[in-house]
Amino acid sequence: MNDDTRRDRVTRFIETLNQARELGLSVEDAKEGELVLCLPYSDRIIGNPETGVIHGGAITTLMDTASGSVIICALDEFELCPTLDLRVDYMRPAEPRKPVYARAETYKVTRNIIFTRCQAYQEGGETIANCVGTFMRIGKEATPKGYRDLITGGEV
């Protein structure tokens, strides 16, 4: 699988997630076991109206989506892996009116569990948040074939 295929699969996958569409998440970069997603700034996700800083929940969703989708960049065949847990450390508030990026990687893939790391940051800026996650592998058969084909575009 090449990086274009990875990007296409992740793009199609996040397009099926209503909340990811609602937030306007997009793929910046996809490599083997590595993925960068972008969350555009929006007034609708502000957590502090005085400062215009977006709420941590939107960053949690960005990082959860990046961590869950980077699995597509690590496995040859598409399989849905439910999240077991996430741990998010918030270093600093995101600067208002700028997009936030999340770079996720799978640092260990086992038969049953996938371990991920993710960093949220802004252009030229410092880390906003770090996140580690674990995902459970329930096998590709647990996902209906029609949905798998939708993500892979029908290729194996």
Partner: protein
């Protein structure tokens, strides 16, 4: 209404709608809150835009996280003197069951309140409180 007046109004009336609608992200996911005696129950009504997995379908895990995080922050603010949103330091979330496309509830418990940091436990459930869909723990910085 100033923030202090809004906090007082919410405490006096138990009507959380004004305070919640002042936070765009709370409106974005549709967070609501009801008071029963001294207890607060947070509520996330069904919403198409909150879904993730389209097959089940299930609420996006990040939305469940955001819902619990925001609930904990509100819960903590209601227990403080000053109407300042506490700043979150970290958040640890265990997903126990899929959050299906139905109304979700959350309640919070202050495990430990120090001078500067508070530790809050959050439990989220749908059908039955005895079958939580997620549990979480958060640390917040309290600014005087």
């Amino acid at each position: 209404m100033t923030d202090a007046e809004l906090l007082q109004y919410t405490r006096d009336t138990g009507d959380f709608s004004r305070m919640l609608s002042s936070i765009p992200y709370a409106r974005f996911i549709g967070l609501e809150c009801d008071r029963f005696g001294d207890d607060l129950i947070f509520r996330l009504p069904r919403k198409q835009q909150n879904l993730g997995n389209p097959i089940l379908p299930a609420i996006h895990g990040g939305v469940i996280g955001g819902f619990m995080e925001l609930s904990a922050a509100f819960y903590l603010m209601m227990s403080q003197e000053t109407p300042r949103m506490p700043r979150i330091v970290d958040f640890s979330l265990d997903y126990l069951r899929a959050g299906l496309d139905r109304e979700t509830y959350a309640e919070c418990r202050l495990t430990r309140q120090g001078n500067r940091v508070a530790n809050v436990m959050i439990t989220a459930w749908q059908k039955s409180r005895s079958q939580p869909i997620a549990t979480a723990r958060a640390h917040f910085l309290i600014e005087g």
